[in-house]
């Protein structure tokens, strides 16, 4: 098995699938080849998921470094090579990508989208680029994949987005292009400083940069993804973009795209620029905490105004995003492991919640909260499933949400009791709007006649919900399967970070 380049397979199989989909003759068939395109896309993504699972099975948690490495000489003039590898940090980001793609394809199975073939191809290109981005170990390769993610994302928002899709897509595109310039600059600075673009090498030598340089590079990196992830207060494009996109697209955007920021922090900012990280951590804390509280209030308002459920979910997911960032900048074992856990867990929860909205949309052709009530009567399975996902979002122990949140808060407390106090406010804030939404949609009397006669979850829908539920509960009850694999890499990250300050004789944040 070791001879098989599994990582490259994970990255390029979806691309192959996308090419094949575009080769399906569209004109001969009544549905424009939509059905075959969906089948092919699903098959490909499941195969990719299987391949990525072998990576997890073969992963040795005791090794802190990169595994399954693949290196091919590429551009010798730039001292750059095609270098892939996986460690405890990227492993689960990759798995999240390969796990959510089949779900994204399956949830819209019966939907009558325009240009289904192209949508499916875009999904697979998106998967390919995202996987490549999480697995790349060369800054240049990373940069290419990073830009490549934008193409399908841009197309998905611009073509299948809602009424304001053009506005969203252009905003997204402009911000992103603007950001990419900064990332390119950062890449060039690193290259001219050290003459290499290899990420593991840069992580070893990056801390040698001067304080000023580190600060500017750090901010440049932040600028490159701040809109995309998106950090408060430049988030407003996102709900707009999500609202009328096909459910599958929302799933991919929320499940995968939103995680890029966290990943860049973990892979670049923290290991390469530790001094700047130490200085600028409060900025991230502040932004994340404000986002947490501010967005929670917005979601509350959306609930009360009986707004669009999809927008609601988009905001609810955003409100929780800040948690991951808080955790990683505490530079404690619990904070960092919790941060990775939170990002993965919310990737799944966001996916699940968007799927739930998709289920309702399929039945009522509407997503307004006011449209639904008393669904528990007609859709008990759905009520149960949504309850589990809601509890996971609330961070109720026994679900994945709890483990991540709790660990992040443990880390946050060690950084500052104020930080813990503010972050923990989500314990109270989060439950108000969730319970209220659930009460409006699922409980109460079924006022409208069709709410009493909706069909419960179908076999296909159960095939989506049950695995999601299983993983969320698994992560909540036996999170060790996941924490075990991230431990060594996180320990190395912290060790290197601290040795920077030990060398400099600076203040050390004690590891706990």
């Amino acid at each position: 098995m070791a001879s098989l380049p599994v990582l490259s397979l994970t990255v390029f199989l979806p691309l192959l699938g996308a090419v094949l989909i575009m080769l399906i003759p569209g004109h001969g068939q009544p549905d424009g080849g939509a059905r075959s395109a969906r089948k092919l896309a699903l098959g490909t993504s499941l195969l990719v998921f299987a391949v990525s699972l072998t990576v997890w099975l073969g992963f040795d948690p005791s090794l802190p470094g990169y595994q399954f490495e693949e290196t091919v000489e590429w551009i010798s003039g730039l001292n750059s090579s095609y270098h892939l590898g996986v460690d405890g940090i990227s492993l689960f980001f990759m798995l999240l990508t390969t796990f959510t793609t089949p779900i994204a394809i399956l949830i819209g199975w019966n939907r009558n989208d325009a240009r289904t073939r192209e949508l499916m191809a875009a999904f697979l290109v998106f998967e390919s680029a995202s996987a490549g981005m999480f697995l790349a170990l060369d800054f240049l390769v990373f940069f290419l994949f990073y830009e490549a993610v934008l193409l399908p994302a841009f197309v998905i928002i611009g073509v299948w987005g809602g009424q304001r899709r053009t506005w969203s897509a252009i905003t997204f595109f402009l911000y992103t292009m603007f950001g990419s310039v900064f990332m390119l600059i950062a890449l060039l600075v690193f290259f001219f400083q050290f003459g290499v673009t290899d990420i593991p090498v840069l992580a070893r030598v990056g801390h040698g940069l001067g304080r000023e340089t580190q600060l500017w590079l750090w901010l440049a990196l932040l600028a490159s993804f701040v809109v995309k992830i998106p950090l408060w207060p430049v988030h407003t494009w996102l709900p707009e973009a999500y609202v009328e996109a096909p459910t599958g697209a929302s799933v991919l955007l929320a499940g995968v795209l939103l995680k890029i920021g966290g990943y860049i922090f973990l892979r670049f900012s923290i290991p390469m620029l530790p001094v700047a990280t130490e200085i600028l951590a409060p900025l991230i804390y502040a932004l994340a905490v404000v986002a947490l509280i501010y967005l929670s209030f917005v979601v509350l308002m959306l609930t009360l105004a009986l707004e669009d459920l999809k927008k609601w979910v988009a905001y609810a997911v955003l409100a929780h995003m800040g948690f991951g960032y808080i955790g990683m900048f505490t530079m404690t074992t619990q904070g960092l492991q919790g941060a990775i856990f939170v990002l993965i867990s919310y990737g799944l929860i966001a996916t699940a919640l968007f799927c739930c909205v998709g289920v309702l949309e399929e039945r009522a052709s509407s997503r307004e909260i006011s449209r639904f009530s008393g669904l528990v009567g007609s859709m008990p399975k759905f009520a149960l499933v949504l309850m589990v996902f809601m509890l996971a979002s609330l961070g109720v122990p026994g679900t994945s949400g709890f483990v991540g949140e709790f660990l992040v808060l443990v880390g946050a407390y060690q950084a500052s009791s104020w930080l813990a106090l503010f972050s923990a406010s989500i314990i109270v804030l989060g439950c108000v709007y969730f319970l209220w939404m659930y009460r409006l949609v699922v409980f109460g009397k079924a006022v409208r006649a069709d709410c009493r006669s909706f069909a419960d979850l179908s076999g296909r829908e159960m095939a989506i919900m049950v695995p999601l539920m299983a993983v969320i509960l698994w992560m909540g009850i036996y999170p060790d399967s996941f924490l075990h694999d991230t431990a060594a890499s996180v320990a190395t990250l912290i060790h290197n970070y601290q040795s920077t300050f030990a060398d400099a004789g600076g203040a050390i944040v004690a590891a706990r």
Binding site: Y294, M301, R439
Partner: protein, 643 residues
């Protein structure tokens, strides 16, 4: 055996929930009842094994969360405190499960109800067997969640939904403190394991901790934060209003969750953490004051209420106050003793009340009852037993436990202890008064129910009466039987290391050795009898008296009748300032949405604020800029100041 004590309810719950349709209502009821009964039997074996023969042990199931030095396994810890709780939880739960078969006979969702009850029982069992803070939190949130689901069981009723959300949110406010307490403990001890923390606690006494910019006593901070969780869960004054609204749930739920088990989790927590609280006199004093105040406030409101379930709910809150201040004066053993006896007689009172409500076609207002004693004599008798035990009349179980608590409070000799003692005495009087007020008004005099209801009054079926009878036996005998073990001469050998009581704080020992004068020990019984006598006078002899007092002391009566205006106070303290703030910052709001929904404590405050905040989404750039600048500046400043 340990597995048999904890997991059968979970198993039963799953079967009832997922195969409820297949096995039918009767099947679901059987399987859930079987689950808790097995648990109860296993608990008896464990009680004998652990409490009587000293076989204290912990079973580690598997790793739960492990991150660096933060290690929290799934483990079952069995010491005396745990097995006592096991007995209370599984026995009351069994009674309630069986009772529900009769009580919910007309409900279309029986399997779901039984599944919830069993799942609740499981969460409670996980809570009492926890051997680390995180698992305690798991059980804690788990019971809170099940309480939410059971309060809102009749999901078509808006009031039930409101009450369910209120309960969850208020408990979450407590959990917020609880969670911070756990973080503080971990910060201090580098562990969340009970044994490790408890061993290190004496060394931490007097240490300082930097918290929110202040240097404060480390253990006091931890204890007070953790206690915040207990305040919400055990409905102590300040975070108690959810418990009254929780009466929207079915009556068996009130008996199991909001009387005998879940609400006592706060008391259990303080007792479990006695090794921490013992080293923080300040925290103990706070606990005492909270408990005593709660006991008095609740009893004072209870004498003015008319809803049979709310009277008993206030009575529960009041008794929880007794348990809490018992913990505060280091009489943890007396607190748990009272927890146990209370579990029996309060569940009995609730199930009896349920039987009355059942007979009266869902009428809960005691003014519309009257003269029922001839119609439902068995229920009447059971309620007498429960009330006698509650009031603490000699030989009934409440007598042993409540007197011990009051004596312990007296024996402290401190001013805080005296505060608790005297409020406790007043409360004892009020307790007897409102209990017999309920009995006299509901069961004696002329019937005030309408003709239609009266025709249908009937004694409950055996499946409801037998569990009550079992509880009645407990309410009569539990006190006398267990006295020696819990607080009598056998207490040291019984509790072993489950509770920590410093020799200097051992108020129970002092009470045994003559620190309490004769009059102080007899006084609780005297006032209880006086309470009954006055209730007799007020409601049987001179029935004009209540009206006379209500009119003559109108301000006082209005104040009590309106629950001390606590909900209004929340509105005034939390909602209104935010309103002003909102108006100042964002004048554009119109507030129509919130006006339509009405204020509801914290929920409304956050909701309101959310609506205001949403104005930021209006698209005005200066709004964004304003909020951003203010927020960031404030927070960054805070971080730099607070380090």
């Amino acid at each position: 055996m340990e597995i048999l004590a904890v997991f059968p309810p979970l198993f039963g719950s799953f079967i009832a929930a997922f195969f409820g349709r297949t096995i039918g209502d009767r099947g679901a009821q059987l399987v859930t009842v079987a689950g808790v009964v097995v648990s109860a039997l296993a608990s008896l074996v464990l009680f004998n094994d652990v409490a009587l023969h000293g076989h204290v042990h912990t079973i580690e199931l598997f790793t739960w969360i492990k991150s660096g030095s933060f290690v929290a396994p799934w483990a079952l810890r069995f010491d005396t405190l745990t097995v006592v709780m096991l007995i209370v939880v599984t026995f009351v739960s069994s009674c309630v499960h069986i009772y529900s078969i009769g009580y919910m006979a007309a409900d279309p969702h029986k399997p779901r109800f039984q599944a919830y009850l069993s799942l609740f029982t499981f969460a409670m069992l996980m809570l009492v067997t926890a051997d680390n803070f995180v698992q305690l939190f798991f059980g804690w949130e788990g019971v809170g969640l099940m309480s939410y689901l059971l309060i809102g069981f009749w999901y078509e009723r808006p009031s039930a939904n409101d009450a369910a959300i209120k309960a969850f949110v208020q408990n979450r406010v407590g959990d917020f403190g609880f969670a911070l307490g756990i973080f503080a403990c971990f910060f201090l001890f580098h562990s969340v394991d009970f044994d490790t923390v408890f061993r290190a606690a004496p060394g931490m006494a007097g240490q300082q901790l930097h918290f929110l910019g202040f240097d404060v006593n480390a253990l006091t901070v931890c204890c007070l934060l953790l206690f915040m969780g207990a305040v919400a869960k055990s409905a102590q004054f300040g975070l108690h209003t959810w418990l009254l609204d929780a009466m929207e749930g079915p009556t068996p739920v009130s008996a199991l969750i909001h009387a005998a088990t879940m609400v006592t989790a706060g008391v259990f927590m303080v007792a479990r953490l006695s090794p921490l609280f013992e080293y923080s006199p300040v925290a103990s004093a706070v606990v005492t004051v909270f408990g005593a105040t709660t006991a008095f406030v609740a009893a004072s409101i209870a004498i003015t209420q008319f809803d049979i379930k709310r009277i008993i709910a206030y009575s529960t809150m009041s008794q929880l106050g007794y348990m809490m201040f018992a913990c505060g004066v280091s009489a943890y053993n007396a607190a748990i003793f009272h927890l146990m006896t209370h579990g029996f007689f309060k569940a009995l009172l609730f199930l009896g009340a349920g039987s009355v409500i059942h007979a009266m076609s869902d009428e809960q207002d005691i003014r519309k009852m009257g003269g029922l004693w001839k119609l439902i004599p068995v229920t009447y008798g059971l309620l007498w037993v429960g009330s006698l035990a509650l009031a603490g009349l000699p030989l009934f179980s409440g007598y042993f436990s409540k007197d011990a608590i009051l004596e312990a409070a007296y024996a402290t000799g401190s001013s805080v202890g005296m505060y608790a003692y005297w409020l406790g005495i007043v409360t004892a009087f009020l307790t007897a008064f409102y209990s017999w007020r309920l009995l006299f008004v509901a069961f004696h005099g002329k019937s005030r129910a309408d003709h239609h209801t009266l025709e249908h009054v009937h004694e409950s079926p055996l499946v409801m009466l037998l569990p009550c009878a079992f509880l009645a036996v407990g309410a009569v005998c539990a006190g006398a039987l267990a006295y020696t073990w819990f607080i009598g001469d056998g207490r040291v050998g019984f509790w072993r290391d489950a509770l920590t009581i410093l020799p200097a704080h051992d108020t129970i020992a002092r009470a045994h050795h003559g620190a309490v004068p004769e009059w102080a020990a007899v006084l609780p019984t005297v006032v209880a009898v006086a309470g009954i006598f006055f209730a007799f006078l007020f409601y049987m002899v001179w029935t004009g008296l209540p009206r006379f007092f209500a009119v003559g002391f109108k301000p006082v009566h209005t104040f009590l009748f309106n629950h001390w205006y606590v909900d209004s106070l929340y509105d005034w303290l939390i909602v209104q300032p935010l309103l002003v703030l909102g108006r100042m910052c964002w004048k554009t709001g119109d507030g129509t949405v919130i006006d339509g929904l009405g204020p509801e404590g914290v929920a409304a405050a956050t909701r309101y604020f959310g609506q205001r905040a949403s104005r930021l989404q209006s698209g005005y750039v200066f709004h964004y800029a304003f909020a951003m600048v203010i927020g960031v500046v404030l927070l960054v400043t805070w971080f730099y100041l607070a380090g």
